[in-house]
Symmetry: C2
């Protein structure tokens, strides 16, 4: 455990990110709004550099390293969005980067991570322990490990999305009933909930997870960290963490209003609606919050709601298959 | 012919549009920038309301109608983006709308146009004259015809994109070598070129058209309005106008630097790159400018360039087919 970041840490992170990160737009569709009976605002974090929110937390962490630490480099393990976020953030900071990726991770994600300048080390998911491997590389090289969520600077970086949502809602003159957030380890939720507790205090913040991987939702209900049963399957490859982070859960338990789970079919339908009406490419894990609102799983009582579309890194073949199933 | 709109008209249009239109972002990808050797800024007009730039010109025209004129209603003919832009703009202005659409136009475009509140009148493209039909309905009802490009208020509305590009480039500290614009009748190009002549005077503005429909490019070279040979085919359904508008060509002849044509294959590749690296859904006609830059058809000498991604209204099946051909 580490101390939870506070609003001031998120404000500092926002200042750090201002010259390098994109202030992603809130996108909406009159057709979707009319069909739903409330105003649906999509926080289009798919338009963030590297195609997901992960760049924010990674940059906020790496930008605080000393020159010597940057020279020693950074290490991260991830099969996807965190890898790309760390690789690009490290490159902007002039830090050498090693990313541990499963040997069977999608070729396109390995390629992109290399394109952002990282050294990719492949490991066997079945026989090797990635955390031990990461610690070994970190200690051999004196490199800094950038965790995907259990880190105060990473959480504060993701929390800048909450500051932007609050500012953009003020610009629109809207107080949303709720903000729905895709959840894996809980860092994005913890950061956003921390920002909104002060900035939009009347707005409730919800976790949205894939069915079978709703550890945070169940943990919020039971009051302790629950784990997912083994053997589950979901198309949301970015959201398959087995249990909430220790600190992220401590924050979310205090600040989140609850959690709901969505099915693969609901996620796929949400991806297609985002394609059709918002002109955005959203990956399965990035579409859970949108799916919950489109499927009526979160009650807004006619008030506006925000869905964070957290990432858009999906292979063309998978996206094409989803579209084909919904073509008409 | 009518007098060409001036910068002041575009500034007034921008004030009119500010409360209702989206200031669409300039999107870029570090991976694309590195592959190209210059900074590629995509003006993401696919994120405009109704999924294309057409809303801007339509709103700027309809918002200037009197209460009596709004009550008498507006008429437009279009199979796609102009239809949706006029329908939504008219609804915001409280004007009754009739849209003439070919009976064989895509069902989804007919559906969306109705969802924006318009009455859709279908006609037979082979046996009926849509312009005569439009004039008949306009005169019977006393309704105002909103032309797709030959109108000073429509051109000024599209020109607000040029003002935004100039302001956004200033925010980034960039002077682009060129701005590439998809062209059909030439209203978007005329508006943008008018704005940039003052706002970014060192930046050249280019027309990008589909092969076989490069009437504006050929007209710019010959100095008079050329027509496309009959029987051509292109996937760019939004860009199939047979000849440049009279006034739009007079403006573009004075202000545009030239025109290039792109193949269906280049357009499709650009759509897939936009999907992969910008997370944007771009329709074929909206992707020509991007295609010209990605295919190296416009020389930037390493300087930044802007591609206007003008629309994103494409059927799921067509987009899926394009992705499948480029999946790897």
């Amino acid at each position: 455990m580490f101390p939870a970041p506070e609003l001031a840490d998120i404000v500092t992170a926002a200042e750090r990110l201002r010259p390098v990160a994109r202030r992603t737009p809130l996108v909406e569709s009159p057709i979707l709004n009319e069909a739903l009976g409330f105003r649906l605002l999509i926080k289009a974090e798919v338009l963030q550099f590297t195609g997901s929110f992960k760049f924010r937390g990674a940059y906020n962490r790496i930008a605080q390293l000393s020159t010597a630490e940057r020279q020693a480099g950074v290490v991260a393990f991830s099969s996807g969005n965190h890898a790309q976020g760390v690789a690009f953030a490290a490159r902007l900071c002039g830090a050498r980067t090693t990313i541990l990726m499963p040997a069977d991770s999608p070729r396109i994600k390995q390629e992109n991570t290399r394109k952002y300048g990282a050294e990719v080390v492949l490991y066997d998911r079945l026989t090797e322990d990635r955390e031990a491997l990461g610690r070994t590389i970190a200690s051999e090289r004196g490199a800094t490990l950038v965790p995907p969520f259990e880190d105060p600077a990473v959480i504060a970086g993701q929390g800048t999305i909450g500051l932007e949502i609050a500012a953009q809602c003020r610009e629109l003159g809207v107080t949303p009933a709720l903000v729905a957030v895709p959840v894996s380890g809980g860092g994005l939720l913890a950061g956003i909930a921390t920002a909104l507790a002060t900035e939009l205090p009347a707005t409730r913040v919800f976790a949205v997870e894939p069915e079978g991987f709703d550890d945070t939702g169940r943990s919020l209900r039971s009051g302790r960290r629950e784990s997912n049963p083994p053997g589950g399957h979901s198309i949301c490859d970015a959201l398959l963490v087995p249990t909430p982070g220790e600190t992220t859960f401590a924050i979310n338990r205090r600040l989140a209003a609850g959690g709901v789970a969505v099915s693969d079919a609901e996620v796929e339908a949400a991806m297609v609606e985002a394609f059709r009406h918002a002109k955005l490419v959203v990956e399965p894990g990035g579409a859970t919050a949108l799916a919950a609102l489109l499927a009526g799983k979160l009650e807004t009582a006619g008030q506006a709601a925000v869905a964070v579309a957290s990432g858009g890194n999906i292979d063309a073949a998978l996206f094409a298959a989803a579209l084909k199933r919904h073509a008409r």
